[in-house]
Amino acid sequence: MTAPASSGLSSIPALLARNVAQHGGKAAYREKEFGIWQSWTWQEAAYEIDALAAGFLTLGANVGDHIAITGRNRPALYWAMVAAQKVGCVPVPLYADAAAEEIAYALEHCGARFVVAGDQEQVDKIADIRDQLHELDHVIYLDGRGLRKYDHTHMTSYDDLQEAGRKADLMDEVAKRTAALTLEDKCVMLYTSGTTGRPKGVVLSNYNVIETSKNSAEFDHLQPGDEVLAYLPMAWVGDFIFSIGQAMWAGFCVNCPESAETMQTDLREIGPTYFFAPPRVFEQQLTNVMIRMEDAGRFKKWLFHKYMKVGREIGPKLLDGEPVSGMERLQYRLADWLVIGPLKNTLGLSRVRVGYTAGEAIGPEIFDFYRALGINLKQLYGQTEATVFITQQPDGQVRSDTVGVPSPGVEIRIAENGEVFYRSPGVFVEYYKNAESTASTKDAEGWVATGDAGFIEEGTGHLRIIDRAKDVGKMASGALFAPKYVENKLKFYPDILEAVVFGADRDYCTAFINIDLTAVGNWAERNNIAYSSYQELSQHPRVLDTIEAHVTEVNKSVAADGMLAGCQVHRFLVLHKELDADDGEMTRTRKVRRRIVEEKFADLIDALYGGKSEIYTETEVTYEDGRKGKIKATLAIRDAAVQSAEQVAAE
C-alpha cells in the first residue's frame, strides 16, 4: 500500500472535524421537511453526531460492534453512520425496501447489536424477525409515528438517545475512540445485492474510502459549494461514496428529498451541481419530456425540434472544447435561451457541472440528448469491491459505448477469457466471514476479478464492457454468446423496459421482452388502442408488431458486429408481467437474475425453442405486502427476421 497524501486524516470523523474547522458555518446537510428546506451547517451536524455517538455509548456500544442503518435518505441517518464510526463501531447500511428475510440474513450475518431505523415500517420488519436475531440489543428509530404504543424496553427514539448522550459525561470516551481510528480500521460494511446466491458483506477500510474519495474528487474538481441530491439507496456503495466519502473529503453539501415521490420536484429546487443517476432515471426523464412534447401545440413542437437539432450539433462540441464558429455559438445561445435553458431548469439540471451514470449501458440517443443540453454526462464503471471507481470518463472524452479510462490509482488487466481485473487503493479488505469468496475474488497480489468481460479499445485506452464474464458463453455452433450486449441494444428502444436473451448451448437465440408501460401506454392512447391491463396491452398484435420491428433492427446491428453475429434473436415473446424484485426476478438494484428467470419461466423457454406460436402459462406473483397470487396468460411467440452472413457481406 502506498502512503496516502491525506496525512492525518485517517477516518471520516477526522474529515468531519476538519470541515468543521475550515468551513463550520457553511451548509453541510439539507432536508426538505414540511415543505421547507431545513439546513444544518458542518458545526450543527457535528453537534448532532456527537450527541448520538455518546448516546451509542450509553447503550454500551463496544469497539468493533456493527450498527445497521435502514431507511430512506435522511441527514440523521447519515449522521448515525458517522456517529457509529466515532465510537469505533462499523456502520452497515441496509436497503430500505428489502424484505424482512433479507434484512434478517444481513443482521444475523454481521451480528448487529444496534439498528437505527427510519420509521415504523422498518421497525415492524425488525420486530417480525426479532426472534431470529440473537445479538440484536436495541433499535433506535427516527420517526416515532405510530410507535408510541410499542414496547420500549429495547427501543429508543433517536432524539431520546441524543438527549441521553448529551446528559451523560461521555465525550472524553468518544474523543478517545475517535482518535484511535486508523486507516486500516473498517469504515463501513456494505451488502452486495448479489445477482446470484446470498448477499456478501463487503468490508471497506478507511484507507479504501478516503483514498478513493480523494482521487475521484480531484479527478472531477469537486469542492465546497458543490451540491448533491442524496436519493439513491443508502446501502449502495455509490451513495456511501458520494454522500459521505466525497462529501466529507471535498466538503460539499448533501441534500435529502422530502420523500421518494417528490424527488423530481426537490431535484428542481436544489439544482445539484454534481449528479448521479442510473440510466433508468435518465431514460424515464427523456421519455417524459418526449411524451409531453407530443401533447404540446404545433408551434412549440416545431420550436423544440428545431432547437434541439441545433443543440445536438453544437452542444457536444462545446462540452468537449472543440472549435466552434461564432455563428454556431450564436445559434446555440439562441437555442439555450428558447428551449435548452428552460428544459434543463424543468429537469432540475441547470447547474449540473458533473453528471455520472453507471450500472447499465445507456442508449446513445439518451446520451446524446443530455449532451445536447450541454450537460456534462459521463459514464463510470465500478463495483462495491472497488469502492466504486474502476474506470471513468474524463471531461472531453465522453462516449456512449465505453466506460472510460482507469480512474486515478487504478490498474487494469484483461485476462485471456476476456474478464477484466483491477488493482487499486479502493480494493476491499474482505467479504465478512467469508474467506473462501474473498480468496476466489481477490488474489494475493491484490488483483480483483470484476466478473465482467471487456476489452481496452486501441488508440483511446477506453474500456469497453461486453457482458458478465459468466454470462458470456458459447452457442451450440461454438459462436460467442453475449446476451447483455443484445439486451442493451433492445433496451435502447423506449418501448422496451427489459429484455432477457437466451442462447447458451443452443442453435439460435431467443428473447423475453418487457414493454415499458409509460411509453407503450401513451402510444396506445394516441392510437385509440383500448386495453384494460398490462397483460392485455403486452399481447396486443400491434404492440407485438412494433416490438418485432425493433428486434429486426437490432438483429441488423448485431449482425454487423462480426464476432457476435450469432447472437441475433430468432424468436421472442413479450412477457405478461414486469420482472420484479419482489418476485426475485431482479435484484434490488434492478438487474435481471438470469438463472431465476430461466427456472421460473422454463415453460416459456421450451415454447420458444419448441416452435410453438403461442403458449399458455401461469405465474406466481408476490404483492407488496407479501401475499401471493397467480396470473394466467396466453402469450404469442413471434419470429423475427435475421441477417445471414451472406447478407451482411453483401452490404
Binding site: F34, G35, G146, R148, K149, E258, D625
Partner: protein, 272 residues
C-alpha cells in the same frame, strides 16, 4: 340515568375518556318517513366509534344529525356535557367537529395545499382587509396555519401532490386530501362518511392505517360510517349497528359480530 363512566385503557394502550357526545332518543323524520327512530348512543373521548348498517339504514342521516346539518324532531344532542341547541353547520364546526363526505366535496380547481388550508378557516381571526394588506398579524397567522397544514401533509404522506390541483388526482388520493382538510381544523370529533367507499384493498388498508394513526397521534375522537364490515370491525373500539332507522346492536366488535339481530340484518335469514 346513565352510569358514571370511568376512563379506561384499551389493550393497545390508548386511554378512552368520558362521554364526548351523547345522542339521546333521537328521532328524525322527513315528512312521514322516519329515517331515525328513537336512537340513543354515546361517543367517548379518544375512541373510534363506527356506525354500520345496510343501505338505507339511516347511517348518513345519523352523521348529519351529529354534524348539525339535520335537526332531529325529537331527542337531544349533548356535546361535552352541554345540551346542544339547533345550530348552523359552521357553528358546529367551531365547536370542534369536522367531517369528510361520502361523495368527496373538495375544490377541484385548487391545489391540495389550498384545499387543506381551507380547513384552517375556523382558526383564522384576521379580517379580510388585514389579509389583503398582508402585514403583521395576518402574515403571522398564515405562517402558523401553513405550519400546521404542512404537518398534516407530512402525516398523510401527500407531499408529492402538494401543488397538484385536486381535479387531477385519482379517487383514493382525493379521499386522503379530504381527510387532511378535516384534520386541518384540529377537530375534537372527526366524522368520516364512508371513508373507504370505492377503494381497492390496498387503498383501504392505507386508509385504515391513517385513521388509526390520527386517533393515536392526535388523540382525535373519530366517528365513522362504513359499509364494509371487515374494515370497521378491525379498527373500531365500539360499533353501533342500524337497520331501517333503528338501533339493533351496540358494543365491541366481538359483541356485535355475535349479535343474532345483526347477523340477520346483514346475512338475511329464513323465517319459518
Amino acid at each position: 340515568m346513565k352510569d358514571i363512566i370511568e376512563p379506561y385503557v384499551t389493550p393497545d394502550g390508548r386511554t378512552i375518556g368520558g362521554v364526548l357526545m351523547d345522542m339521546r332518543n333521537i328521532t328524525l323524520r322527513f315528512g312521514g318517513v322516519e329515517a331515525i327512530k328513537d336512537i340513543s348512543f354515546d361517543i367517548r373521548e379518544g375512541e373510534i366509534r363506527a356506525i354500520i348498517g345496510p343501505n338505507g339504514a339511516g347511517k348518513s342521516s345519523m352523521l348529519n344529525v351529529i354534524s348539525g346539518f339535520y335537526h332531529p324532531q325529537e331527542g337531544e344532542v349533548w356535546f361535552r356535557g352541554q345540551k346542544r341547541p339547533p345550530m348552523k353547520p359552521f357553528q358546529v364546526a367551531r365547536l370542534g367537529i369536522a367531517r369528510t363526505f361520502q361523495n368527496i366535496a373538495l375544490f377541484e380547481g385548487m391545489t391540495v395545499l389550498d384545499n387543506v388550508m381551507t380547513g384552517r378557516l375556523t382558526h383564522m381571526k384576521s379580517n379580510m382587509l388585514a389579509q389583503a394588506i398582508w402585514r403583521g398579524k395576518a402574515e403571522r397567522e398564515e405562517v402558523e396555519n401553513r405550519e400546521k397544514v404542512e404537518r398534516i401533509i407530512d402525516f398523510l404522506e401527500i407531499q408529492a401532490i402538494r401543488k397538484t390541483p385536486v381535479g387531477r388526482l385519482p379517487y383514493g388520493l382525493k379521499k386522503r386530501v379530504e381527510l387532511a382538510r378535516a384534520l386541518a381544523a384540529e377537530p375534537k370529533l372527526l366524522l368520516l362518511d364512508e371513508p373507504m367507499a370505492g377503494m381497492n384493498v390496498e387503498e383501504k388498508e392505507d386508509m385504515s392505517r391513517f385513521i388509526l394513526d390520527v386517533n393515536d397521534e392526535f388523540g382525535t375522537t373519530i366517528a365513522l360510517i362504513e359499509h364494509d364490515m371487515g374494515v370497521v370491525m378491525d379498527i373500531s373500539d365500539r360499533v353501533v349497528v342500524m337497520d331501517y332507522g333503528r338501533k339493533i346492536g351496540d358494543g365491541t366488535p366481538d359483541e356485535v359480530r355475535n349479535n343474532p339481530q345483526v347477523i340477520d340484518a346483514y346475512l338475511g335469514v329464513a323465517h319459518d
